[in-house]
């Protein structure tokens, strides 16, 4: 992750700048990169650690399935399902905490490294009262109102299902999970209260009623998946 950020900020010829970005050709390319509010790219780089942690823990879950001693431990299938589900939710929360902490850390590092340089450059250009909106790299993604909207929420709230699928059906998990996230989004979207801002921005408001429907829907997905998982565990041969 550190390497990815380094590439982003230190190498004008890196892949980030070649992807539809003209900053590399500009003299003060670094300044322009810093004040560019490419929050999605930042989220993608920060997402490397949670993905890495998932890969680490995913192997442990698979070992639980293939180890004859754990299959024969005198524990009921219901307890196994429940325990692994709780583990999956706990792991999801840990991944989120890691994500938020690294986001906070990198915002701090950006402020330490680039704040003075940015202010000086702006003052040289006559910009004395520049409006640093929360979208800038000096703020965290949460402050930036990063669009943790319905689509991202659909993926995050069904993340434990990915872990369970990785345990029970590892080959299907990688294809299944994106389909599930998109399916949840499509099914919930008609019920989501939203407003259109400008020509292209969609703001979905988190009304209490919608949150209730959303929570019930996600709880239903988890319940159905646990039932499927319960029977998958019972059929597991080692």
């Amino acid at each position: 992750m550190i390497i990815l950020f380094w590439l982003y900020y230190m190498l004008p010829d890196s892949i980030y700048h070649k992807l539809g970005n003209d900053y590399a050709k500009s003299e003060n390319w670094r300044f322009l990169t810093i004040i560019n509010n490419r929050t999605f790219l930042r989220a993608a780089i920060l997402g490397v650690i949670p993905v890495y942690l998932y890969v680490c823990f995913g192997g442990y879950l698979r070992q639980l399935k293939t180890n004859s001693l754990s299959v024969l431990t005198p524990v009921s299938a219901l307890e196994r399902v429940f325990t692994i589900w709780i583990f999956s939710i706990g792991l999801t929360l840990v991944l989120l905490v890691f994500f938020l902490l690294t986001d906070e850390l990198f915002a701090y590092i950006h402020r330490s490294l680039f704040w003075d340089e940015t202010i000086r450059t702006l003052e040289r250009n006559g910009e004395l009262y520049y409006d640093f909106s929360p979208d800038f790299v000096f703020s965290t993604l949460i402050q930036a109102d990063f669009p943790v909207g319905l689509l991202v929420g659909s993926f995050l709230s069904t993340l434990p299902v990915l872990f369970l699928t990785g345990y029970a059906m590892p080959k299907a998990a990688i294809l299944f999970y994106p389909l599930l996230g998109v399916a949840v989004f499509i099914l919930l979207f008609p019920f989501a209260p939203y407003t259109v801002v400008g020509n292209y921005q969609l703001n979905i408001s988190a009304s209490p009623l919608f949150l209730l429907v959303y929570s019930a829907f996600i709880a239903g997905i988890h319940f159905l998946w646990m039932v499927a998982f319960y029977f998958r565990i019972k059929e597991n041969e080692v």
Binding site: S68, L69, V71, L72, P74, S76, K234
Partner: protein, 277 residues
């Protein structure tokens, strides 16, 4: 009691590993499960343990169906595989966590076995060698006092003193209620412990008999004998050895290895040995 009724299993259709096996295994006995490599010994143990499900036929272990993996069944059965994967915690912690799952667990017995096997309970399991991990898990398995104990190649990786300790521990473990099945290629390690033989050959259980019964039917000698009585012979470093029909009540040490070789190389011998399954 383990009851196998027309039991069958295959990994690929048309290539049975276990085919139409019917037999009863009684408590109070230590069975040696013998067979060539790949014949299905481990598979049979796994089907009995509930790790694999029979493709047809029935199996019952002390009134339970292993495939249901009910808690009463699992807490009264221990399966010690050839290769063991254990968590990276200390031996003492492992005992503390898992003993509560086995109602008849004997902590004193576990402690004694650890001492006999020279395994330190303060040591982390993943720091132990393969042989030490096996000894540790074997000690745990014996200490659970389960009625069914399935051991797959238990002496693999054990040093000579540990093999002796294992034999001693196993002999003292057996009671009228316990049923032990040991699958092993290293017959010499377990010769003194086994009292019943199971032989798997070509997906069938061809022998299920007590050693005392077999010894009443078969004798072993290295003296020259009447050729008509010889069922099988082997030429070893120290001369010829013969397996003969025991028509004269001769007393000899039952050579399990030679008996197994005879069954494999001359299956027709089984026709001469009545009611062996």
């Amino acid at each position: 009691m383990i009851t196998l009724q027309n039991l069958g299993f295959y990994y690929k259709k048309g290539k049975p590993v276990l085919d139409d096996i019917s037999s009863e295994l009684e408590p109070g006995k230590i069975y040696g499960l013998l067979g060539l490599n790949g014949v299905g010994k481990t598979t049979l143990l796994k089907v009995i343990a509930g790790l694999r499900f029979p493709k047809y036929g029935d199996i019952e272990v002390n009134g339970h169906t292993p495939g249901h993996r009910s808690i009463p069944f699992l807490s009264d059965m221990m399966f010690v595989p050839d290769e063991i994967t254990l968590p990276g915690i200390t031996v003492g912690k492992y005992e503390k966590l898992y003993r509560i799952l086995y109602p008849k667990f004997d902590a004193g017995k576990f402690e004694k076995l650890l001492k006999d096997f020279k395994v330190d309970r303060a040591e982390r399991i993943n720091n132990l060698s393969f042989g030490q991990q096996k000894k540790m898990y074997m000690a745990f398995a014996l200490a659970t006092n389960t009625r069914v104990l399935l051991l797959d190649e238990p002496t693999n990786g054990l040093d000579i003193p540990s093999k002796r300790q294992f034999r001693k521990a196993l002999s003292s473990h057996i009671s009228d209620e316990t049923l032990v099945i040991i699958s092993s290629h290293q017959i010499r390690d377990l010769h003194s412990v086994i009292d019943h033989i199971l032989v798997l050959d070509n997906s069938k259980l061809v022998v299920n008999g007590s050693i005392s019964r077999l010894a009443s039917l078969i004798g072993f000698t290295s003296s020259p004998v009447d050729r008509q009585r010889v069922l099988y012979s082997e030429t070893l470093v120290n001369g010829d050895h013969y397996m003969v029909e025991n028509t004269m009540d001769m007393e000899s040490d039952f050579d399990i290895e030679m008996f197994f070789n005879a069954i494999i190389h001359r299956p027709e011998i089984l026709r001469l040995l009545p009611n062996l399954n």
